[in-house]
Amino acid sequence: MNFPVLFKRLLALFACAGMLTFASARLLAAEHAPAAPAHGETVAAAHDAAGPVGTTAHHGHAETKEPTFLEAALYSYLTAYMFCLSIVVGAFFLIHLHYLFDAGWSVPIRRINEQLASLMPYMGVLSLPILVFGPSIYPWMSIDPATDHALDVKKILFNRPTFIGVIIVCFVLWSFMALRFRRMSVAQDKDGAAQWTHKARFQAAWGIYVLAFTLTVAVFLLMKSLQHQFFSTMYGVYYFAGSMWVTLATVYGIMRILAHRELNGVISKQTIHYIGTLFFAFTVFYAYIHFSQYFLIWNAAIPEETFWYVKREAGSWWEVGLLILFGHFIAPFVVLLRIDTKMNLLVMGPMIAWAWLMHYVDMTFNIMPVLYPNGLHLTLLDPLCWFGMAGFLGFIFWKNFKTAAAFPLKDPRLKEAITHHEVPAPGAAASHH
């Protein structure tokens, strides 16, 4: 079976698995009244023998309470969602970078970024369960601000209409911007006019402010507000740093896969090297940001902030934290230090898979301790949600990718990206002189 067929079938399989998970979660949500879960709930029964599902209809988040199936499903969904959003937002940001630096080397991979970022409307649709079932995810949504000081002082932002409104505004804006980038780029494929580059550069100039601001607010609401008492102004850039890291790994992988297919002849050694270098840079940047957040909180030792990490030192969350330290930073740092490893597919292939796993661990570390305070608690729902969503988005990505050229055909800087460092190898030149 050749590669595209295999790829398509895998994606279709993932998509089906995801839809099934989703449907079962919804069905169970409809009958979450106190009922014995013995019949029919094979998924829940298989992985969650720890406790009866749905012993109470109330969705308050008392820490001692066993999570309901709906809650477990929604948290797995949120983790997968934040993972996927990382890559879409990261690719979106890379387009901004490309235009702001007027870069030449990243022209051949820009279409990959554009197609990834164009998944934004789908991410908007996929956020619907989070918006609809908000109270089952975010404890603050079912707390009266009058009884909770931390919520009371933050209720300007932390109230449901604002939550829903901000997320909708974010996705409308991002979708508009991402699709406009792609539209201008595809238009240039036809006429090769420099005006498209100029227009895109102008959009990147204002867009980067919009993205920085909206992404911060969106991450505050989607992820940080799981524990509404927490304070960290770095949280937005923390998510951003991890997102860029996993995005660069993803783009590197897609680029290398397509290098001998759709992108044959346009991926030069320096393009591979530069993406690898950026990947390395964001390995360090993520560590820098996460350490800074931890260090400031540790040093100040204010209970309103420390509780967030104290919670994440309980049970096996301590080991998960160490896994992030060593697996998200130290190991990749050592591996990516040399130039030749950044170019070597035998090293980079496993490294990309590892980066995906580590980013998922990072998202789990941020989201799951709220639901499972005693330690890491993996269920079948986690891989199902992840594969479902990643498969669905991957399927759409691939479908979109084939509707346009695989790289910007007539970008004014394409030629320099392909050729300007090309030098005949020793011996090769002698033949024609």
């Binding site: 260090f295 130039i339 300007h420 460092h421 030098v423 020793p426 011996g427 030149a429 002698a430 002189h433």
Partner: protein, 177 residues
């Protein structure tokens, strides 16, 4: 010239960036080791055209950074825990956490010093004198001409003139030490 003047090398002038680029490839492929290219501005791809390997400066940087990091950690451990234990803000006497910012800064500082030092050492700089300064023509290397110099110590120096002529040199002169 003094009586015992030795030959330093052969200096060839080229008039275009493309010309010297092609010439560099030919000199590289002819197997020369002790030679260099002088241009008024950086030419992309010249490293490969000259057959230069990746710079060794990175090793200096790594050693410098490594030294810096452990100097920072050890220094703070020694001062704050071992030699004169001091409680600050109710924190442990030593933990890598609060020692990290200083160690990190020292990593960068010593890494940068080692990079600069390594670069200067590998380039044998500072160097107040170079025989090429004797050449009137060579002054144009900072203006609009491009030069290749093959040094006399290269084992293949005997054929150097022929190689440079074949590569399309606009002018060739012998430079004495």
């Amino acid at each position: 010239m003094s009586a015992n003047a030795k030959t330093y090398g052969l200096l060839a002038q080229f008039d275009t960036a493309a010309g010297i680029f092609e010439a560099a490839i030919q000199v590289r492929d002819a197997g020369y080791r002790k030679w260099d290219v002088f241009t008024p501005f950086p030419i992309h791809g010249m490293d490969d055209a000259m057959g230069l390997k990746n710079s060794k400066v990175g090793y200096f940087t790594f050693c410098g950074g490594f030294t810096g990091f452990f100097t920072g950690m050890t220094m703070i451990w020694f001062m704050n825990k071992f030699d004169y234990g001091l409680v600050v803000g109710g924190k442990p006497l030593f933990t890598p956490l609060y020692a990290f910012p200083v160690s990190y800064e020292l990593t960068i500082l010593l890494g940068a010093f080692a990079t600069l030092g390594g670069m200067l050492a590998l380039n044998r700089l500072p160097k107040l004198y170079n025989p090429l300064f004797k050449s009137e023509r060579f002054k144009k290397a900072t203006d609009d001409k491009f030069f290749i110099c093959i040094e006399a110590t290269d084992p293949k120096f005997a054929e150097a003139r022929a190689v440079l002529e074949k590569a399309g040199a606009a002018a060739i002169e012998l430079v004495e030490d």
